[in-house]
């Protein structure tokens, strides 16, 4: 029964995918969308069943299908595991997935390839479920690469535009760089422990104390983290995520905010027993996370494309999650993943609603004053913005506060930088809100004429998500955390409750004050002084550096891409020619020897006879005298 239901959970989106691929066009847009949504909804219901089951029995469900890859020392099975962590992830993946599918029915309605869009989305959900449910690292890897593929397909959904295709390609390749790291990590683990199964891996790592001194263990952890960097857009592999905004907005919401990019966090949490044993790697994770958080936030300060702002905000928030991971506070990171999924999905969907209303306009300088025309969008986005800014009592407040608190206890520098990042977050999010919804509309007359609130298929998901963004913090209140309690069996340790002292309250106050500070600056700048971000050509000074994302793309281009192409050119032009020339040269040499030899064969019998005598003499000498 469990096995069948688990397969239903896994395969429902896949069936949706197959339906949309083969019959979607014939079935029509509405049917295609409904089937797509339903298939994810089925998965969601199946997940809730497992959630309930887990709550009642407390036993994870393991589903073994068949042997997949055999190696000399061990086999890798096709099997799935439904434990606390994976069910938690599945809940919000399928839940938010359903909402976004629903949203897309309306959002993508004008697109001629809507059935394909739903096919890809379903495929994505399928791979995401595989990623989460896999009971060993390699099954996870199937999902890991699969979601990358879907991300590629969806970013390049409007494939007529080659720039979008470039963005899609970039995303895939950046991910692949991380994937290589991940694979190497897998190899090391396989080599050390002869298994890739989570449970077995855990017991063998924990039971084998000799391996602790093995530097390979740290290398493995580092390699896994490189993989996570690629998928979760951390420095140095983050540049694909902002570009990925080329895809349709629901894609940005689902893949590039709520689910796929959290796969890195999922994986690190999964392998927490490994990272716990490698403190150096944990330090690296924390530092990388913090730097990413502040760098991405600083770039977000000056972006003018509404989706780019959200994208950098996502990178920054992911950085904060990695900060938590690096400090060993996995449950805190998970908490932030969930709240972030709520409010960021809501923000993206809201921005999608705005873009939809403006017929594709994404530049905030051409927006403004939409508050009245789109009240539902405005209020839902406002709630989410408050949540991401960390205002009491919205969800973001609790989760971000926990991260900063952990940072404070871990290392004061990390805390300071993290706090700066969150102040920046408050600033640019409110900048976004002010520019989009307040003051006067700055677009064309025609756009103004068509301004309207989005249909209910779009607003309902927004409302639900906003609601979740508002109250999501309840699942893990300090001192009495349901989430921590829920995850206890997974982490295999009783969670020591924070006891809330004066320090904690002070920290909360500082965080709130910081957020308010950010909001205040934004208010004074964009409401009081009514400033507008400068046009592209007028951006100067440090803002220009920020606007151009610290020229990281250009640097990568100059450092890696161009040399690679140069080498390729060199190989193709010269080395290939040389090798080929060498071979041809051998042929020519033979020819030349033949030509020279030809003149000896001049038909003179005397010469032949002479050669003959010499030959006979040589043979005789060789046979009898040597």
């Amino acid at each position: 029964m469990e096995k069948k239901l688990a397969l239903v959970l896994l395969l429902a989106p896949f069936c949706g995918f197959l339906f949309n691929v083969f019959l979607g066009k014939k079935a029509g847009k509405s049917i295609s969308g409904i089937i797509g949504t339903l298939s994810v909804l089925i998965s969601f219901f199946a997940t809730t069943y497992f959630f309930a089951l887990l709550q009642s029995t407390g036993q994870p469900v393991q589903v073994d299908l068949f042997q997949w890859i055999s190696l000399e020392k061990f086999n890798i099975d096709f099997s799935f595991l439904l434990d606390q962590l994976s069910i938690l992830w599945l809940l919000f993946v399928t839940g938010i997935g359903t909402l976004i599918h629903m949203y897309s029915i309306s959002y993508m309605h004008d697109d001629e390839n809507m059935h394909k869009f739903f096919a890809y989305l379903n495929l994505f959900v399928f791979f995401m479920i595989t990623l989460v449910m896999g009971s060993n690292l390699l099954i996870m890897f199937i999902g890991w690469e699969g979601v990358g593929l879907c991300s590629y397909l969806l970013i390049g959904f409007w494939y007529k535009n080659q720039e979008y295709n470039d963005a899609a390609k970039k995303a895939f390749i950046m991910n692949r760089i991380g994937d290589l790291g991940l694979l190497i990590g897998l190899f090391i683990l396989g080599y050390l422990f002869h298994t890739l199964d989570y449970a077995t891996l855990k017991t063998s790592i924990l039971s084998n104390s000799a391996v602790l001194s093995n530097p390979l263990l740290s290398i493995a952890a580092l390699c896994l983290f490189i993989g996570a960097c690629g998928k979760s857009a951390q420095i140095p592999l983050y540049t694909w995520l902002p570009d990925a905004m080329a895809g349709p907005t629901p894609v940005s919401a689902l893949i590039h905010a709520a689910t796929m990019v959290t796969a890195g966090i999922f994986m690190v949490t999964r392998m927490h027993f490994l990272f716990d044993l490698t403190p150096y790697v944990q330090d690296i994770i924390a530092i990388v996370g913090t730097i990413t958080a502040v760098v991405a936030a600083s770039i977000g300060l000056v972006q003018t494309d509404i989706k780019k702002v959200l994208a950098y905000s996502t990178v920054s928030q992911l950085g904060l999650m990695f900060l938590a991971l690096g400090l060993g506070a996995y449950e805190v990171a998970v908490f932030h993943v969930i709240t972030h999924a709520f409010f960021k999905a809501c923000l993206f969907l809201g921005s999608g609603s705005v873009i939809h209303a403006l017929h594709g306009e994404q530049d905030m300088r051409r927006m403004g004053g939409l508050r009245k025309a789109m009240p539902v969008t405005f209020w839902t986005m406002m709630i989410s913005t408050l949540a991401i800014a960390g205002i009491f009592p919205f969800a973001g407040f609790w989760s971000k506060d926990e991260i900063l608190m952990t940072a404070f206890h871990g290392n004061i520098v990390l805390w300071v930088i993290g706090s700066i990042a969150s102040i920046m977050t408050a600033f640019y999010m409110f900048r976004l809100m002010y520019l989009t919804f307040f003051q006067e509309f700055r677009g064309t007359e025609e756009q103004k004429h068509h301004l309207h609130e989005s249909p209910s298929l779009i607003t309902i998901p927004l409302i639900i998500l906003a609601f979740l963004a508002a109250i999501g913090g309840l699942i893990s209140l300090p001192g009495n955390s349901w989430l921590n309690h829920y995850l206890e069996p997974f982490f295999n340790k009783a969670h020591e409750a924070h006891h809330l002292g004066a320090t904690e309250y002070t920290l909360m106050a500082i965080a709130t004050a910081g957020a308010l500070l950010g909001i205040g600056i934004a208010y004074s700048k964009y409401i009081k002084q009514n400033q507008l971000p400068a046009e592209d050509s007028e951006i100067k000074g440090i803002a220009k550096v920020l606007y151009n994302k610290y020229y990281v793309d250009e640097a990568y281009e100059a450092l890696f891409v161009n040399p690679l192409y140069k080498v390729s050119h060199f190989f193709r032009k010269y080395v290939e020619e040389a090798v080929s020339g060498f071979v041809f040269g051998l042929g020519k040499l033979t020819n030349e020897i033949g030509n020279q030899g030809k003149s000896v064969q001049n038909g003179s019998i005397g010469l032949y006879l002479f050669a003959f005598v010499i030959g006979v003499s040589s043979i005789l000498i060789y046979l009898f005298l040597v």
Binding site: G606, F610, I614, V616, L620, I621, F624, L625
Partner: protein, 170 residues
């Protein structure tokens, strides 16, 4: 020094001298004449071995048939004059070198291969009379013998064909 040895040296001297003269005579007719003498001396060697039959056959085949053929051909081509142009010195040098080389090599080979002979085998059996040879030839070597006749036949036909004047070619 026994008589046989004297005869041997005498015959050998004739053989080598005439062979050499054959080679260096300017006039082909002279060469042919010297060759005949050379063949006769070789026949003398055969007689020395007591191989009378072979000696006779040798005289008939070589001195008789082959030499007559040679002479006829020379006459036919009207070559009885000393008109051969000289070869280049390089060719001559090459000839001398190969002569020396092959001479040296073969002698070296034979000397190296020669067993230390204390006494020669002497079975006392008759092994080279016509009677014995005939038996060997027609028993053990029956098939090659027949083939030799075929060979001669073929050679005859071939010769006729080759030396026939082609009518089509003017």
């Amino acid at each position: 020094m026994s008589t046989l040895l004297i005869i041997f040296y005498f015959l050998s001297a004739i053989t080598i001298a005439t062979a050499f003269l054959t080679i260096i005579s300017k006039n082909p007719i002279h060469s042919a004449i010297y060759l005949v003498i050379c063949f006769f001396s070789v026949a003398g060697h055969y007689l020395l071995f007591n191989a009378q039959f072979l000696a006779i056959v040798h005289i008939i085949v070589y001195s008789g048939a082959i030499m007559v053929l040679f002479l006829f051909t020379i006459m036919l081509m009207n070559l009885n004059k000393e008109g051969e142009p000289h070869k280049k010195w390089a060719t001559k040098l090459a000839a001398v070198i190969s002569f020396g080389l092959i001479c040296f090599v073969m002698l070296a080979v034979f000397i190296k291969a020669m067993p230390v002979i204390a006494a020669y085998k002497q079975t006392g059996q008759d092994f080279q009379s016509i009677k014995v040879l005939g038996k060997v030839l027609l028993n053990e070597y029956m098939v090659p013998f027949e083939f030799a006749s075929v060979l001669l036949l073929v050679a005859m036909i071939g010769t006729v064909l080759l030396s026939k004047k082609e009518k089509s070619v003017q």
